[in-house]
Amino acid sequence: MIALGRLKSWEGLLLAILVVVVAMNVMRSPYYLGIDNVVNLFQLSIEKIIVALTMTMIIVSGEIDLSVASIMGLAAVLLGCLFKAGIPMPAAILIALLSGLAAGLFNGFWVAQAGLPSLAVTLAGLIGYRGLARVFIQDHSIGGFPVWFNTIGQQRTVGPLTISIMIFFILFVIVAVTLHGSGLGRLVYAIGNNTQAARYAGVRVKLIKLCLFGASGLVAALAGILYGARLGSVRGDIATGFELDIITMVLLGGVSIFGGSGNIIGVGLSILVILNLRNGMGLANITGDTQTSVVGALLILSVLVPNLMHTLKTKWKERKT
């Protein structure tokens, strides 16, 4: 009964939830499974799910990065400001990407090198990078990007899929291979399980954490740029609050907040659950903050339920003996 064993796992639970959510949505709206809507489903949250991939690695290593949304904003704003200053688009994109990398490495320095708690450091980053973004762009919005740029975010270029969606799938494969099929991945799990032990075993914890935060920043910058392409313009408050969804996607996917466990398939399934949930709510005319509060509840449940199950299991075992 290996199949049942699989089903009982967290991924099985997610799959069941996904089926229920999709069924409810299809009943409500006949257009739901059409290719148009499926692409929309991804498009409306594509930037968040891209960042969720690197966030997975960060959380598995036992840390957290609250500043991703602000780095997205910073990169998008830099792109806009450079473009407005007359710098050619490709150069502006490169600089924006590098800024994200720099921000991530800055975070990583304080966490890995100075040993400060990532919660505090990235909280400072959340405030600071957003502030920096607003210093550059003030209260304005910058738009009017060249058509080829907007196409990346908006147009269906590869068949019915947009370039953003392609980027997501490519990154998904990269992270999956890194986390589950490479030595580096095993080290990340080891660090998450027991940092001290890993350090004594000779693992270069500081270097790996630095790289993880750097990657997180770089990918966040990429997502910010794609967001700007999709909206056709950038503002100082772009992507505010995205970290909630991103962290929920990872934790709901079975990745433990304490680090050391979880897998990318689970995260993939939870991404599908949240996307379908949000899209379904949107089609049911539930908007904005209500949708977010549902995601917030999911976040709490994703940690609460395993806790409860664990307590119940221990109590059950105590009964039996």
Binding site: N40, L44, G232, S233, G282, N285
Partner: protein
């Protein structure tokens, strides 16, 4: 016999010249979506009431959907709502556009599916993706009205003043400010000096703080002009709380009911507005007429919008492209007429 011939001939000529002036037939079921800049502002609630009134008159069996984003997610939220509405295949979308030209791709996708896109209160600047804009007033005229109010408040000696606007992307406020700047070029206003423009994003706290910041940065300003119903109230309270009601006056566009106390106390001696209820009513009628095919979105089309009378689609003189329906009058409120207006 000849009488009948005459009547028939007249009817024939009438019908030949483009049909009876858009006859809006009630009773047809059309899915309509009313999309304000964002939720939570009284003036948009009033527009909602107006639209509901129109819905009742037109006996549209399908209920109006009033959807809006939250203020910090206004642009992405509006795009999302338009996209979802397109998927659902509604009949018409009425949007007060807060997203500048970023809404164009989504709007065009809606039009491609046969959905009518009617903007009200704030248009799509490039007019792409938009069928027609229901304008509450002539935007150029608003500029002149604001300039006149500024002059009357600051007096012949003029002085410095600043503008507290809403969102820097808001097409309507930007157009009004541009019109005001244009109007100020007239030598009559030579002594009026505009020193700053700040943005309160139509949010209470932010507008309050921005108003205070204006006074901090320019201690000698005599007037804050706020063409936003949220900003004007916030600025008035800020001046009242700071005890500056005598030094710094407030004006702009606001709701009489919200500004009553401040006008009576003299902090906001004059301000203007139009009826948002009427605007919502008219927008609904327009969208319904377009969606049911009673009129086409082209220059010269006319139709009767219920209790408000006949309206005609014309070219919009304030934009490079685009059609508009001009609703019309607005009122300048002061101590004399505000009590009556606030009671309504």
């Amino acid at each position: 016999m000849s009488k009948y011939l005459l009547v028939t001939a007249a009817l024939a000529i009438g019908m030949a010249s483009g049909g009876l002036a858009g006859d809006v037939t009630p009773g047809k079921g059309v899915d309509m979506v009313l999309l304000p800049k964002f939720l939570g502002i009284k003036v948009f609630d009033q527009a909602h009431q107006g639209a509901l009134e129109a819905e009742k008159e037109l006996e549209n069996p399908k209920p109006l959907k009033y959807l809006g984003p939250t203020p910090e997610n206004s642009v992405a939220g509006q795009i999302e709502i338009v996209t979802n509405a397109t998927t659902q295949g509604v009949g018409a979308i009425m949007i007060s556009n807060n997203s500048g030209d970023q809404i164009v791709p989504a709007a065009k996708a809606a039009q491609a599916k046969g959905i009518k896109v009617v903007t009200w209160d704030s248009p799509i600047p490039s007019a792409e993706g938009e069928d027609v804009f229901v304008a509450q007033v002539d935007f150029t005229e608003i500029g002149k009205v604001m300039a006149d109010m500024a002059l009357s408040i600051m007096g012949a000696n003029g002085g410095k003043f600043a503008i507290l606007s809403a969102s820097p992307d808001a097409a309507n406020q930007n157009a009004w400010i541009a019109a005001m700047k244009e109007a100020l070029k007239d030598p009559k206003y030579a002594k009026l000096q505009l020193v700053d423009i700040v943005y309160g994003d139509d949010q209470q706290e932010k507008s309050y703080n921005q108003a205070n910041a204006l006074v901090d940065k320019h201690p000698d300003i005599k007037l804050i002009m706020a063409p936003t119903s949220v900003g004007i109230v916030a600025a008035a309270k800020a001046m009242q709380d700071g005890g500056l009601g005598d030094k710094v006056k407030i004006s702009g566009l606001g709701l009489p009911s919200e500004m009553l106390a401040y006008t009576k106390s003299g902090i906001a001696p004059e301000f203007a507005l139009w009826s948002f209820t009427d605007l919502g009513y008219l927008a609904y009628y327009t969208a319904y007429a377009l969606a049911t095919g009673a009129i086409k979105a082209e220059e010269g089309a006319t139709f009767k919008a219920g209790r408000m009378g006949e309206y005609k689609i014309t070219k919009d003189p304030t934009r490079a492209k685009g059609l508009r329906i001009l609703m019309g009058p607005f009122t300048v409120y002061n101590k004399d007429n505000i009590e009556a207006a606030a009671a309504k």
